[in-house]
Amino acid sequence: MDFGRISRRHLLQGSAAITLGSALGVRSASAADTTIGFIYVGSRDDYGYNQAHAQGAAALKRLPGLKVVEEEKVPETDAVEKTIESMINLDGATLLFPTSFGYYNPHMIKMATKFPKLRFEHCGGLWTEKDPTNAGSYFGYIDEAQYISGIVAGYSTKSGKLGFVAAKPIPQVLRNINAFTLGAKLANPKATTQVIFTGDWSMPVKEAEATNSLIDQGVDVLTCHVDGPKTMVENAARRGAMVCGYHVNQSPLAPKAYLTGAEWNWEALYPKFVKMIAAGEAIPNFYRGGLKEEIVKVSPYGEMVSAEARKHADDIKAKLTSGDYTIFKGPIADNKGKVMIAAGTDRGQKDPELEKMDYLVEGVIGATS
């Protein structure tokens, strides 16, 4: 079994290092290396969900004493269990980041139980008391960044019609759509957001169709919540519409159309995790935060964003960052007129009710089912 861990290259490197080491009298530094494994469900240059994590992994690669191994396009089946085991058995990984939501249950839990001495960090915020203690699950309140995007979009739209290309009507997505719309209404109370659900996380053809259809209906600012925003961004820019990005900064794809965007800030979080481990601190198993905790961020504004929009957005961003602003503040009605959050009720960032969101706020055109 142990022979499996020693590849031919390692043997060669090892013998070379020993020769060199004994000749020069230095100790090999590689003995102290920590190997970290990253697993992505899509390709790591998708300008989206997976690239955001790959940027976090890249931040770790720049730190001394860390070795990062990566594997992309691993499906949410037992394949991910085998990838985890392979990283442990063949690469010696001791910290693993299976980054896709569907990796958690049952796959990562099974592996965390099998390897109780290793640390697992999953993206999705799914850890509960009954799960293994060496498993963690983190997530960000990216609706805060979507809210800022909404403000900028509200100022930038001429038609007052915004578009949202969304994957599935699940709480995380609905929360983004609602935050974006509420933000837009701060800037332009008459603004509406037309939403189209494509049905799955990666449906480039449907995403392109949805983008075109929205623009045909007069929408002039679009955003999205799908795994790879590239399709939406490029198509919208080609049609002359403006966009707000998602997951990572997509401005290189459409520099003239990119207003701003809601981004993950994994390149800040992952080094923090590694430092906590190195210092012997325990990473909370359930780790969440927003702008204040530097888990999400807002893309730099594009040239065409007006001074007024910048000022308003920066102002709210500062309040969110200091932690004294509530996005979901009553009264909030759904788009059928029913009051969902009563006047006087503040549903703050960590309110569990928001995790169950199953409605679209007033101003959103569309239905959850």
Binding site: M1, F3, G4, S7, R8, R9, S43, V69, E70, E71, E72, K73, V74, P75, E76, T77, D78, A79, K82, T83, E85, S86, M87, N89, L90, D91, F101, G102, P106, G124, K168, I170, P171, Q172, G199, D200, E355, K356
Partner: protein
């Protein structure tokens, strides 16, 4: 079975002096090993050149492929785990091929089988695990079987091309699955990943003792061997092959072609449905969109590479399982993108198809040298 086996009369007439008996008797069988083997070696050589163009050492490539797929006991288990569902889904294409039908909808039968098996388990909440598991097997096989029988029925009674209809049925199956999983069968607790309720840890079928490989491998081996016996050693199988060779001739001799088509399609779908049951009962523990991992589509490739022989499906599935198992190591050690594994699969496919032209044309195997 269209390839012509060496003609004994001709071989005897021009037999060389050296003992030609062995080749005469076994030349045909040797061809079936030699030609695909040579195709495989050729494909690996071309892939090596392809990889060398990217500046990687092809010898490293072969070494890591071997190490990742078969180099250690862990690698073997990884390979076999990935091969297990492929054996079953390949039979979904290989069995109808005996009748000259090209069925490519194994993925749909897998999804329906998984749904049916999950429903059976959820409908029997307080039964002993063995009863639940048997019910799941039956439900999965019947569900998948009826699904492909539908394609067979369309072909027999409505003249619908079975290739198209079986492919389209995949998308219908996926839509049915999503509809049920996001609707009536949804576990209300599965907020951001719509799923059915779990079938319960007691009802999981687990792994083959002493390994990490689940029982799906054994099911696959039994199904492949049973299919082989059925096709090559029973009158039913003979009738199917006659009908596959010439439908009109089969009808003239009084074979009920309609019954053959429906039965074979049912068996084909049942084996893919069983793969779906295994994915639920051995891997996922419930039904959700994760099940649509493409096993049904890879199964088509396996069936064609095995030249539709149910027994040859086993080694081919293990080979493709090995390629996918080693894919991770290629990404991690050589920095190749995931797509390179698909390139290799494509090259192998082209080589094996092209090598079809060689059957019966290799002189020395006929004893002619």
């Amino acid at each position: 079975m269209t390839s012509d086996v060496a003609d004994p009369g001709e071989a005897v007439a021009i037999a060389p002096a050296a003992d030609p008996g062995f080749l005469q008797r076994h030349g045909g069988s040797i061809e079936y090993i030699l030609i695909p083997g040579a195709a495989l070696v050729g494909a690996l050589a071309v892939f090596g050149i392809f990889v060398a163009l990217f500046g990687k050492n092809p010898l490293d490539l072969y070494f890591y492929m071997y190490q990742g797929a078969f180099g250690t006991w862990f690698s073997w288990q990884n390979t076999l785990t990935r091969a297990a569902p492929l054996i079953l889904t390949a039979l979904c294409t290989a069995l109808p091929a005996q009748l000259g039908m090209v069925i490519i909808g194994g993925e749909g039968a897998l999804l329906i089988g998984a749904l049916a098996a999950t429903s059976a388990a959820l409908a029997l909440p307080s039964m002993p695990p063995l009863v639940v598991q048997l019910a799941m097997v039956c439900a999965g096989m019947i569900g998948g079987g009826l699904w492909i029988m539908l394609a067979g029925g369309f072909r027999q009674y409505r003249g619908v091309n079975e290739t198209i209809s079986s492919l389209l049925l995949v998308y219908i199956a996926l839509a049915v699955l999503n509809h049920l999983v996001e609707g009536v069968m949804r576990d209300p607790a599965s907020l951001n990943k719509p799923s059915t309720r779990e079938i319960g840890a007691a009802n999981m079928i687990g792994s083959i003792p002493g390994t990490d490989v689940h029982w799906g491998l054994v099911f696959g081996l039994i199904a492949a061997i049973a299919s082989y016996v059925l096709i090559y050693h029973t009158t039913f199988g003979f009738a199917a092959r006659v009908a596959g060779g010439n439908v009109r001739a089969a009808k003239i001799v009084g074979l009920s072609v309609g019954k053959l088509i429906l039965t074979i399609c049912f068996l084909a779908g049942a084996s893919a449905g069983l793969a779906g049951m295994v994915e639920v009962a051995a891997v996922q523990g419930r039904t959700n969109a994760n099940l649509a991992a493409g096993y049904g589509f890879t199964g088509i490739l396996v069936a064609f590479l095995a030249r539709q022989n149910p027994l040859a499906v086993i080694p081919v599935a293990i080979l493709l399982g090995g390629i996918s198992a080693s894919g991770g190591l290629l990404q991690r050690r050589l920095g190749l993108p995931d797509a390179s594994v698909l390139v290799l699969q494509g090259i192998i496919f082209v080589f094996v198809l092209a090598s079809d032209a060689l059957y019966g044309r290799i002189g020395f195997l006929k004893g002619k040298s």
